[in-house]
C-alpha cells in the first residue's frame, strides 16, 4: 500500500462538545486531496467546529472536549511528533472577516516565513512574491508593498490573507466562509484563486452560499446537527442527493 498523497485530511468518529452541548457527533470524513471540498449545513451545525479541529484551533473555546481522531496524511494531528505550530503551518486557515495585521502588505505575507526560517532578503522577497502571485494579488500591489495592508479593499485584504497563509507553503488550506462579507465580483476573484490553487493544495471551504459550493467544489459534505448526513461529488450531491435531509436543505425547505 502506497503512502497517502500529501494534504489528505480525514476524521474518524470525531465528536466534540462545548460544555454540555455537543457540536460534532461521530463525524467520519475523508477529504479528497488536491481538490476543493465544501462543507455546508445550517447555522450551528458544527461546520466551523469541524474546520477548526483540522488545525487544532478548537481548544481556544472554553471547556471543550473531543473524542475520535483527525489525521493528516494518515498521522494523527494530535501526535506528539507533530507540534501544533508545525501542524498549523501545514494546514493554513483563512477566516470569515479578513484579518490583516496592522503592518505593511509585505510584512503581512512575510509573517509566517519569518517565524520559522532564517531567510536571506532575496529569498524572502521571492516567497512573498510567489504567495501574492498565487493569490492573484501581485499585479495590484507590487508597487505598494510597503503600504499598510488595511488600505486595501475588502476583497484585496481577503486575498492578502490567502497569500499570507500560502507563504507558509501549506498542504491544506481551510477557509471559513471567506466570501460572506464580499461583493460578487470580489467573490469571483477568490473563487478563481481557489480554483487555481486546488492543483497543489487541498482546499476545505465552509460556506453558507450553496451556489458557491455547487459551482466551486469537487466534493461536498453536508453537516446537520453535528452529524455528517451526506458526502460525495458535488455534481451528484446537488442534483440527485441520496438523503432526504440533504435534499430538504439544498432546496431550502429548512436550514
Amino acid at each position: 500500500m502506497s503512502a497517502p498523497p500529501a494534504g489528505a485530511l480525514a476524521t474518524r468518529d470525531l465528536s466534540l462538545w462545548y460544555g454540555p452541548v455537543q457540536a460534532l457527533d461521530l463525524v467520519s470524513l475523508s477529504i479528497a486531496p488536491h481538490a476543493i471540498s465544501a462543507i455546508i449545513g445550517p447555522s450551528g451545525c458544527g461546520k466551523s467546529s469541524l474546520l477548526r479541529s483540522f488545525n487544532r484551533l478548537h481548544p481556544l473555546a472554553a471547556d471543550v472536549r473531543v473524542s475520535g481522531d483527525v489525521t493528516l496524511n494518515g498521522a494523527s494531528v494530535c501526535a506528539s511528533s507533530l507540534p501544533v505550530e508545525e501542524l498549523r503551518r501545514r494546514v493554513g486557515m483563512v477566516f470569515q472577516r479578513w484579518t490583516p495585521f496592522p503592518v505593511s502588505i509585505y510584512d503581512n505575507v512575510a509573517a509566517g516565513p519569518r517565524l520559522n526560517l532564517r531567510l536571506e532578503r532575496a529569498d524572502l522577497d521571492a516567497i512573498v512574491e510567489q504567495a501574492l502571485r498565487r493569490a492573484a494579488l501581485w499585479d495590484e500591489v507590487k508597487d505598494r508593498l510597503r503600504e499598510p495592508a488595511r488600505r486595501l479593499s475588502g476583497g484585496q485584504q481577503q486575498r492578502l490573507c490567502i497569500a499570507r497563509a500560502l507563504a507558509n507553503g501549506p498542504e491544506v488550506l481551510l477557509l471559513d466562509e471567506p466570501c460572506s462579507a464580499l461583493d460578487p465580483i470580489a467573490t469571483q476573484r477568490i473563487e478563481e484563486v481557489l480554483w487555481e490553487l486546488r492543483q497543489d493544495v487541498t482546499i476545505v471551504i465552509v460556506t453558507h452560499n450553496l451556489q458557491q459550493a455547487a459551482r466551486l467544489s469537487d466534493e461536498t459534505a453536508v453537516l446537520i446537527g453535528g452529524r455528517l448526513v451526506e458526502h460525495g461529488p458535488s455534481s451528484q450531491l446537488f442534483t440527485s442527493p441520496r438523503e432526504p435531509r440533504t435534499e430538504a436543505f439544498i432546496t431550502g425547505r429548512f436550514g
Binding site: 488545525n55 484551533l57 481556544l60 505550530e85 508545525e86 498549523r88 503551518r89 493554513g92 486557515m93 477566516f95 472577516r97 484579518t99 495585521f101 496592522p102 503592518v103 505593511s104 510584512d107 509573517a111 509566517g112 517565524l115 520559522n116 510597503r146 499598510p148 488595511r150 490573507c161 499570507r164 497563509a165 507558509n168
Partner: protein, 268 residues
C-alpha cells in the same frame, strides 16, 4: 442657539483668560536662562529653574521606568485572562487606585520610602509618581488589548505563532498606538503633580541628579516661588507654569499624532 453660544463662551472664557495671562506673565519672565541657570539667591537678579526642569525629567523618567512595564504587564494579563480572580483584582485595584487623591499616594511613598531611607529623595518622589501612573497605564493597556479582535490572535495562531509570540507580536503590536497614547497622557498627568512630591522629592535649590538626594521639580519650584514675597520670584513662577503647560500641550499633541497613526503607516 444663543443659549448654547453663551454657555460655550462661558465655558471657554476661563481657559482663554488663563492662557492669555499665562502667556503674558510667563512669556515676559521666560528667558533662555530659565533653562540654563540655577535659582538665584534672594535679591540677586536673574536665575532660572534649570535644576527643576532636569528634576522633573528625572522624576518622570524613573517613574515611567517603574510604572510602564508593570502597568502594561498587568493590563495585558487582565485582558488575556478576563474573568479570572487575579484579573478582576487588577481591574478593581486599578479603579480604586486611580481614585485615591495624589497627596495620599505621597503619604504612602513617604511611609515606605522616605521613612526607611531616613531622608527625602528623588527615588521617593518617583515612586509616588509611579503609583499614580500605574492604574492609568494598566487600565489603558487592558482596554486597548480588549479592542483587538480575537480573530487577529487566532490568525496568528493559525500561521504557526506560539501563544506568547501571538500575544506580543500581534495583539500587543496592534494595541500599541492606543497604549502609547495613554502612556503620553499618563506622563503629562504626573509631570504636573505637586502634592505627592512635597514630602517625597521635597525640592532642592541646587543641581542634583542623584536618586538618593532630594530633587527639585517644576511644580515644586512654582509652588515655592509663587508663595514667596518677591516679585521676581513670582514672575519666574509664571514662567515655570508656562513651561509646564507647554510640556503638557506637546505631550497632548504627540498623543493625538500617535492616535491618528493607529493603523500604522510605517512598519519595522
Amino acid at each position: 442657539m444663543a443659549v448654547v453660544v453663551a454657555a460655550t463662551a462661558f465655558a471657554v472664557s476661563p481657559l482663554a483668560a488663563l492662557g492669555g495671562h499665562l502667556v503674558r506673565e510667563g512669556g515676559a519672565a521666560l528667558h533662555w536662562s530659565f533653562f540654563t541657570a540655577l535659582p538665584a539667591p534672594v535679591g540677586e537678579p536673574g536665575g532660572g529653574m534649570a535644576n527643576a526642569v532636569v528634576g522633573t525629567l528625572l522624576l518622570v523618567s524613573i517613574a515611567s521606568l517603574m510604572a510602564i512595564p508593570v502597568g502594561v504587564g498587568a493590563g495585558l494579563y487582565a485582558a488575556e485572562h478576563r474573568g479570572r480572580p487575579l484579573a478582576l483584582a487588577v481591574r478593581f485595584v486599578s479603579e480604586v487606585l486611580s481614585g485615591v487623591p495624589s497627596i495620599v499616594i505621597g503619604i504612602l511613598s513617604w511611609e515606605f520610602v522616605v521613612r526607611p531611607m531616613g531622608h527625602f529623595s528623588a527615588l521617593a518622589g518617583a515612586v509616588a509618581l509611579a503609583i499614580i501612573m500605574l492604574p492609568l497605564v494598566a487600565r489603558a493597556t487592558e482596554e486597548m488589548v480588549l479592542l483587538v479582535p480575537s480573530a487577529l490572535f487566532e490568525t496568528a495562531l493559525a500561521l504557526g505563532y506560539g501563544h506568547a509570540r501571538a500575544v506580543v507580536r500581534v495583539v500587543l503590536r496592534t494595541a500599541l498606538p492606543g497604549i502609547l497614547t495613554a502612556l503620553l497622557v499618563a506622563v503629562a498627568r504626573v509631570a504636573g503633580e505637586t502634592a505627592p512630591l512635597l514630602f517625597t522629592a521635597f525640592g532642592n535649590h541646587f543641581w542634583s541628579v542623584s536618586l538618593r538626594e532630594p530633587v527639585s521639580a517644576l511644580p515644586l519650584q512654582i509652588f515655592t516661588y509663587a508663595i514667596s514675597p518677591y516679585d521676581d520670584w513670582r514672575a519666574l513662577a509664571w514662567a515655570g507654569a508656562l513651561v509646564l503647560v507647554g510640556l503638557a500641550v506637546i505631550l497632548g499633541i504627540a498623543a493625538r499624532v500617535t492616535m491618528r497613526h493607529r493603523h500604522g503607516r510605517r512598519v519595522r
